[in-house]
């Protein structure tokens, strides 16, 4: 069931709040100097569904981007990767319904032509336009919907929350909800005082989700005057701790793309990595990314529960990540959560299987805040209490390995009949 209303997923990361940032409206248009639009252009058979989005900065902006690490990478990823390397961009055009992946030379030419059509309408250099696609793999992307759709979507551009929302809706595939987030707060100035800045964006993703460097598609913007280097540094750090820590089904897409525009329209001091405002803006970017990542996990295909997996006490960061993903990707753990079964044995087996060294006699496990294993031995559970805790929309799994000080947090969802139904029936 597809809805145009977002999921109400709370911010879990309180770092932005500590810098004085608070949630606000407007998504990718929250930042001054940004416009967006989403329309139905004919990439999908169903004319009721929007399938073409455009996000535009009023002027060429600092821009940073991350892309899939999948060896099979789509044509738009190949085109955008080269262009984003300049550190500046003006716009990104996105479509759903067709991933333009495994499409060879014709696919590359189509992606470049889409950028050229946008550049002509905006009156900018086509090298300042990026492109992203999501949908079926291995089918040539038709150019026709761009021919009529690009002028129409440019005509619909607006700086409103509604326009941002339309763009977020136009990139949905098996997503059941659009995913938007935005924060507003102060960027401290060298000379004292502060300038108000915004960070916002949208993302899409529901299946084929274990992003590696970025989620399937995400567009972020800020009006903070970040330098290209600062934008890149803040984006890489945020993505590493947000989208790269989400898994729905361990499958990495061919099209993952995450793009940040920094318009500078808020004014004030230019922000590089040494600026007093950098930690605050970077925390806000990470806060928006984390919230969007949690929305993706919560809206994972067939999901009924958002799951946060914390691994503590690992010997190294790599160990912590490996154990957290082993648990978050375990079909047995995920079906147990679907079945409201406080099955810590499956959590323990998943932690132990991945080759990370620890002593089973040192392991503690908590499920939904309740100690269920201490020093490798079971703690008796109140089954009625556990069943009641499973009614919550968010489920916490915490494992302490007793092997060091490293920790990792990963988000996932349960594995349900809905997942099997969607992917056993979704014709690609």
């Amino acid at each position: 069931m597809t809805s145009c209303n977002p999921l109400a997923i709370p911010m879990q990361d309180d770092a932005p709040q500590s810098f004085g940032f608070a949630p606000c409206e407007g998504g990718v248009c929250a930042a001054a100097g940004m416009r967006a639009a989403g329309i139905s252009a004919g990439f999908r058979r169903n004319p009721q569904r929007k399938d073409l989005a455009l996000v535009v900065a009023d002027e060429a902006s600092a821009c940073a981007a991350t892309f899939t690490q999948n060896r099979f990478c789509a044509a738009p990823v190949q085109v955008s990767r080269g262009r984003a390397a300049s550190g500046h961009a003006r716009a990104v055009v996105l479509n759903s319904g067709n991933a333009n992946a495994a499409t060879g030379e014709p696919g590359l030419r189509c992606a470049e032509k889409a950028c050229a059509l946008v550049a002509r309408e905006l009156g900018c250099d086509e090298r300042d336009v990026l492109v992203a696609s999501t949908g079926v793999i291995g089918v040539q992307l038709p150019l026709e919907p761009y021919m009529t759709g690009v002028p129409a979507v440019v005509g619909a551009l607006a700086a409103t929350p509604e326009a941002a929302h339309d763009a977020a809706c136009a990139v949905m595939t098996t997503d059941t909800h659009p995913k938007e987030a935005a924060l507003v707060g102060p960027a401290p100035q060298a000379g004292g005082g502060a300038v108000t800045v915004h960070v916002g964006g949208f993302a899409k993703g529901s299946g084929m989700i274990q992003p590696n460097m970025a989620t399937m598609l995400c567009v972020l913007s800020t009006d903070a005057p970040l330098t290209p280097e600062a934008a890149r540094s803040a984006l890489l750090s945020a993505v590493r701790q947000s989208f790269n820590k989400v898994t729905v089904d361990s499958d990495t897409s061919t099209n993952d793309t995450c793009i940040l525009f920094a318009t500078g329209a808020a004014g004030g001091d230019a922000i590089d990595e040494a600026s007093p405002a950098f930690p605050a803006v970077a925390a806000a970017i990470k806060g928006v990314c984390t919230n969007l990542a949690r929305q993706i996990a919560a809206d994972g295909e067939g999901s009924t529960r958002l799951v946060t997996v914390d691994v503590l006490g690992a010997a190294t960061q790599a160990d912590a990540d490996k154990v957290a993903f082993a648990i978050a990707n375990s079909p047995l753990v995920k079906t147990a959560i679907f079945g409201h079964d406080a099955n810590w044995g499956r959590v323990a087996a998943a932690a132990g299987k991945c080759g990370v060294p620890f002593s089973q006699e040192a392991v503690d496990i908590d499920l939904m805040g309740v100690p269920v294993l201490r020093a490798g031995l079971p703690v008796p559970m109140d089954e009625g209490d556990m069943l009641r805790r499973f009614e919550q929309p968010e489920i916490g799994v915490a494992v302490s390995l007793g092997a060091g000080d490293a920790h990792a947090r990963v988000w996932t969802c349960d594995l349900t009949h809905g997942y099997v139904k969607i992917n056993g029936e979704y014709r690609t």
Copy 2:
């Protein structure tokens, strides 16, 4: 639905045949000098289900064993690992219904006591008795069922196919079919001629299956007079190419155990790794293991199709294994097979996600023998023909990376509503 009839899974490996081996009856009792039994002893609540198995060599035999690499390993694994290191054993006692895992010191004492009870009945050293368990994790294993069950199961020992079958049935958990296999063939003698030898065994496993060094539980026997070193070498090689190449759900059990007894009762020359008979007997051991491994994949929880994944043209063996497991563990690939969707895009995405280097322009993919991708570009498919091919009980997925000469073969099954139902409802 549980059945006492085995699945009819053909031998896929033709190496044993090339040495003159052919399938035979008798499972773990096919080898001369072996007896077995399976009874209901009270480990399970349901008295209709057998839950205690015993496999005994008439005399202390050469013995080799492999065990789970999971950091959480069960008490019986800890006990048996130490004892199997001697290279000799007389018997193994196995129960279902309780894994004796995460049970601390009391669990270890219970496993040792079970061995002692068997040793007393058989009149042998308790260090010559191994133990294995499967079932729920984190619940103390009661000793009472052993107290009454061990004398009863010793009394039931027989060298018949029926007794071997009872033992195979007594270790089933979510398995819907018992899993047995046996081969008979000639062991060439140094002085000319040959002695007829047998290799047989049973295995269990349906969920929490991506064994690492062994399947959940497997007992093999041969009457070929293998030395302990030859038994170990043949077992390790066979396990690496069979049980370690099966995945149902990527989860490695805490209890995986695979034990080979070599009674020598067939007579003839002692067989070490340099003997003329070694390649033939090793091929037969691998043939039995491969067939049992395929039975496990075919009976994976909720499975409707047995899937063979072949990865060819990888740069290294490790690369080939990694890509084959990435495909075999991909929920998107597995649900597509359930949905009879010839979705090579998901196969390509799974191959590309795991960090193994190759060029997408060099990749070929065949589904069920039909070329669907050549040099990274789609080959038009006859959808009706593909749908008909999905009616077969076995599905082949072959990917050629064009990056080298290494290849890997992995077996798995589809991901279905049955898997979610079994694991969302199975109370552990």
